[in-house]
């Protein structure tokens, strides 16, 4: 039986059990790093933010747990620290746009919100495989949609937890997720069509 996150935190904080912290790090590193990488789209920056996040976690835990007071929500707490670090980085680089909440409205064309600066150059898309195509599609999503998609798929949070973390309603979180999936599908389909047409042209 695996010990809970809370048990491991207690073992680390109360008894200085370093192996408990190592287990926590092993358990959640993919969830946190996947989210950060998807947000900043730069591996080096994601590494820096990941390290910064967990150093803050260590520091907070050593001060009688710091801000970690909610039982059984260790990952949510760590992701909140990671999210703040990512948003600070994006704001510093002026890449974070505070898009107004769109609620449940379907009238808005979310595809038009995809930033033009997304790394979707034709040369790159010709060479990448489906995984990279997917990654590019995620990167091309509006930030708010991308964040919900990353928190659900990389961090494995529930929509309720995502709503709590991002400070929106669960309906808003679900709406963002739905449009993220729709836009991602469009992106993949359009790129595949483009590839196919270029192959046909090359054969002609």
């Amino acid at each position: 039986m695996h010990p809970s996150d809370e048990d491991l935190v207690v073992r680390y904080v109360e008894h200085g059990d370093e192996s408990a912290f190592r287990t926590l790090l092993d358990r959640h590193q993919e969830r946190v790093f996947g989210y950060l990488l998807g947000m900043v789209r730069d591996r080096e920056v994601a590494n820096d933010l990941f390290q910064e996040t967990f150093l803050k976690v260590i520091s907070a835990l050593s001060k009688k747990r710091g801000s970690y007071t909610v039982q059984g929500k260790f990952l949510g707490w760590v992701l909140r620290i990671a999210r703040n670090a990512a948003l600070d980085h994006l704001r510093a680089r002026k890449k974070w746009r505070d898009v107004e909440s769109v609620g449940d409205s379907e009238e808005v064309d979310y595809w038009s919100r995809i930033p033009d600066e997304a790394p979707s150059a034709e040369e790159e898309i010709h060479q990448i495989e489906m995984a990279d195509l997917l990654q590019a599609g995620i990167a091309a999503l509006p930030e708010e949609q991308r964040e919900v998609l990353l928190l659900r798929h990389e961090s494995e949070m529930t929509f309720r937890e995502i709503a709590d973390l991002t400070g929106c309603s669960i309906n808003t979180a679900l709406g963002r997720m739905r449009y993220a999936l729709i836009n991602l599908r469009r992106h993949l389909t359009s790129q595949q069509r483009k590839d196919l047409s270029e192959v046909v042209v090359a054969h002609e």
């Binding site: 680390y12 790090l25 590193q29 590494n47 050593s62 798929h153 929509f159 999936l181 991602l184």
Partner: protein, 210 residues
């Protein structure tokens, strides 16, 4: 977003309400088409390889956690002065109490062994008048120091150890010896040859009517 589309998304991610029937929702062509499109994209996301941070980053974080844990341990020891003193006191008392316990147990074992090694009194008719109650056999009677008065409290010896029985026994053996002409080691004699002058001593033939 309509409630039905919301419910479809929740079902897709395994967070739907149990009482909501997905088949009913998918009976509508528009919803079925959307569900199919969303699930295909979700599947591609599900099989996407998970990313991990660089090993060097993990090592740096673990080193920091190790340092913090060590510092926390030192802080904890400093903060717990009264507890430490209590532990030291306990460490000092424990051996002393252990030694005291060993001494008490040793004395007890010695006392029991000594009591068991004392000889049982010989019950014989010749000592019937010297039989004493069992409880007095093991009782040490001091010579009036504590003012306790018993039947044999006049001497400092144990009540049964007055030594009078051995001289008495010796005297009896000595008194019997000269009355018999026989001695150990003499050759065997017929019964008729035994002296019969003394009617009290010696043997008489079965046919004599004297």
């Amino acid at each position: 977003m309509s409630n039905e589309k919301r419910d479809i998304l929740l079902h897709l991610y395994g967070e739907g309400e149990p009482d909501q029937d997905l088949r009913t929702l998918l009976s509508k062509p528009a919803l079925k088409s959307e569900y199919s499109a969303l699930s295909e994209t979700k599947f591609r996301l599900d099989i996407k390889k998970k990313e991990r941070p660089d090993r060097a980053v993990i090592d740096r974080i673990l080193a920091a956690s190790r340092n913090e844990a060590t510092q926390n341990g030192k802080k904890t020891r400093l903060d717990r002065g009264p507890v430490s003193r209590r532990v030291q006191l306990r460490k000092m008392l424990l051996p002393a109490l252990s030694m005291a316990a060993v001494v008490v147990v040793s004395v007890g074992i010695g006392w029991i062994a000594f009591s068991n090694s004392t000889p049982e009194p010989i019950l014989s008719s010749m000592y019937e008048n010297e039989i004493v109650p069992p409880e007095s056999l093991y009782r040490f009677v001091p010579s009036g120091k504590a003012g306790i008065s018993t039947a044999s409290s006049q001497s400092e010896t144990l009540s049964w150890d007055d030594g009078s029985s051995i001289p008495n026994l010796h005297n009896r053996i000595s008194s019997l010896k000269p009355t018999s002409p026989l001695d150990w080691g003499d050759s065997a004699l017929p019964l008729e040859m035994l002296p019969s002058s003394n009617s009290r001593s010696g043997f008489q033939t079965a046919g004599s009517n004297k």
